[in-house]
């Protein structure tokens, strides 16, 4: 009998130690956010402040890749493995339905209240809810803009024809080698460009869950993009242009117009930029009577269903998306806020004179289709459009083919036959 005493003692001690360790581990709740690299940098101060104010929570940021889709790949890889190390994810607007349908997200309305979006600027509330639930809260608003050279023209074009005419005039005068640069590479950015033109010509991508990509407006929009290249207004290398390449060409003074996101504004106006103070922004051109559309590309925080620190994570989400945080992000990094009140904030308006234009553009925001299979739909679209831009296929047969492929995809995906 006495021989068992030491064993018991060891068992007891182990138990106590494990208990203490558990207590210690529970004392601080760790919350991890995955963000694309630039956001991780921009939010560093906010994260530090949050940790100062919340001793019970340790918020840390995982610096994801630079490219949007690469961040998604990283997140999905970890989610597929079952135990993701992340509690919060900074998501692009197009991912929401996919992630929600996959069951990876936690509905937020229960945490934030049904009226959580009430304070948002018009346009910023789009793309956060899907299938009756709120899945993410927008941190930064993003929308497609038309950049124009204030030193070369009085006012920006409002219709495709005007854009063409101004371009031709400036090119003929030798003031710019090219008229208009945009994102024509085979990737998501091309879909964003197209959504704006499609709306500008009066078309829709999906109507009642059915594609309308062979409509007259859709063909017109496609034909116009191809026409820009054929007419020499847009360089053929647009077929390989993403945002950085378009910005590079525009900033070098090689084009009169550029389609890009708000981040380019700060880049073009920073000290030493050749175009500092010579750039204006507006919404995309459209046919008379059609809206000047801006593709909505906001970034928002979502709570992962697998998180074990949901309350703490929501606390962090609230903090990072608060009016104060967004104000700081705008002042320091030029990020467009999503809270309506900030667009009227005198301090911000003084620091950021284009805020009014941005608010306007945001109100014209157009969403890309909210469907879990958006990635496939968009992949079909930008692949086909890129073929048209490189002259591999004529706009009309291309859009017929795209319509067929999109219809087939909607039928076959998920085995819903």
């Amino acid at each position: 009998m006495p021989r068992r005493w030491p064993l018991l003692l060891v068992g007891l001690m182990t138990g106590v130690l494990l208990g203490l360790w558990g207590l210690a581990a529970n004392a601080v709740e760790r919350v991890n956010v995955l963000m694309p690299a630039p956001f991780a940098e921009a939010t560093a101060d906010l994260v530090a402040a949050f940790n100062r104010d919340h001793p019970g929570i340790e918020l840390s940021v995982t610096r994801g890749p630079l490219e949007t889709e690469a961040v998604s790949d990283l997140a999905i890889s970890s989610l597929l493995l079952g135990s993701s190390p992340y509690d919060l994810l900074l998501m692009d607007v197009t991912w929401t339905p996919k992630y929600a349908a996959a069951g990876w997200l936690e509905p937020l309305e229960g945490w934030l209240g049904e009226d959580a979006l009430a304070d948002l600027a018009p346009g910023a509330e789009l793309g956060n809810a899907f299938a009756g639930h709120l899945w993410r809260f927008p941190l930064v608003a993003d929308m497609g803009l038309l950049y124009w050279r204030t030193d070369l023209m009085q006012a920006p074009p409002r219709t495709p024809a005007e854009l063409e005419a101004i371009s031709r005039r400036l090119q003929a005068a030798g003031q710019v080698p090219w008229g208009y640069v945009w994102e024509g590479k085979q990737y998501e950015g091309l879909s964003c460009v197209y959504v704006e033109m499609l709306r500008g010509f009066g078309g829709r991508w999906l109507e009642q869950e059915q594609p309308e990509l062979n409509s007259a407006a859709a063909v017109q929009a496609t034909a116009w993009l191809r026409h820009l290249v054929e007419a020499g207004i847009t360089p053929p290398t647009v077929a390989n242009m993403a945002e950085p390449e378009a910005l590079q060409a525009f900033q070098a003074g090689d084009a009169a117009f550029m389609r890009n996101w708000p981040y380019a504004w700060a880049e073009l106006n920073k000290p030493g930029s050749p175009l500092r103070g010579k750039v204006g922004i507006t919404t995309m051109v459209s046919e008379t009577g059609e809206p000047h559309a801006a593709t909505q590309g906001s970034w928002g925080l979502a709570l992962l269903a697998g998180s074990r620190h949901k309350a703490a994570a929501v606390e962090a989400l609230r903090y990072l998306t608060s009016v104060e945080a967004q104000k700081q992000l705008n002042l320091r990094w030029g990020y467009t806020p999503t809270r309506l009140s900030l667009f009227n904030d005198p301090e911000l308006l003084a620091a950021n004179p284009v805020l009014a234009e941005l608010k306007l553009a945001l109100s014209d925001a157009v969403l890309r289709p909210l469907t879990p299979i958006y990635a496939q739909l968009s992949d079909l679209l930008y692949r086909e459009l890129n073929s048209v831009i490189t002259g591999g296929i004529q706009p009309e047969p291309a859009m017929e083919q795209l319509q067929g492929n999109s219809e087939r995809l909607l039928i076959t995906a998920g085995g819903q036959r």
Binding site: E69, S72, D73, I76, S77, K98, A101, A102, G103, K185, Q186, Y187, P235, P236, T237, V238, A239, N240, M241, E245, Q248, A249, A252, P372, I373, A375, Q376, D379, R383, N386, S387, I389, T390, G392, T412, A413, G414, G415, Q416, R417
Partner: protein
Amino acid sequence: MRWKLWLLMAPALLWLLAIFAAPMLHYAWLSTQAETVLTGLQPRPVGAEQWLRLWNDARFWQDTWQTLRFSAVSVLLEMVLGLAMALLLHQPLRGRGALRTISLLPWALPTTVMALGWRWIFNDPYGPINQLLQGLGLSGVPFLSDPAITWLAAVWADTWKTTPFVALLLLAGLQNIPADLYEAAALEGAGAWQSLRRITLPLLTPYLLIALLFRLAQALGVFDLIQVLTGGGPAGSTESLALYAYLNAMRFLDFGYSATVMLGSFAVLLVVAALAGLAFQWSRTTQAEELR
């Protein structure tokens, strides 16, 4: 006696089974299921439908053709240039050690890094090549925005990176050929070209074959280079089978079809390997006959 043999091989066989056969079997099963974001990522049996879909998928066949084209041209280039490079590095030159190290650098570079590098070099019009061409008054080359050209840019980047690997393998082979064979041949009246054809190439054959198989297998599975350099564009002209399978799994969350694409690519690989083997046999016999 025989069962003992099997017993001894059992650990190795089990290991092979675990790392090779098991995933294959899993994919085979997955290819009979629909498992997408619309099924809540739960498998649902669909019989042969994924295979039917593959058979009718023009994109799969286009990617097959593009993958084969990429592999054939880049591997051929790598073999020729790798042999030339190995021969050069085998010469008793001053500073040969340094030369060998330097020439291996491209291979040591991570693929993504070198792909980014080439993306910059190939940039139109701001990349160095096009800047140079424009400086010379020539028109730029749309390296990455013309479907007829971009696949060659990818081939070139791949060749640049993996030629040193081939050269390294062949250099090992060259070092295994006794110098006196060349001396004997020289005394028999052989020139440099004849020595290469009659001695070097035949004795290098096993190494050439290994390099060929290695490179072919790698090239047929090309992914990261394409992903970074072109993203499969323009107009899908550089998309490889591996990239397509990846898109289906990671972007589209269509795992049933991704497994089908992967198995389809594997079948393509097997066919190519078989054809390469046959071609090699054939070239050996005809060569032997020609020399008789």
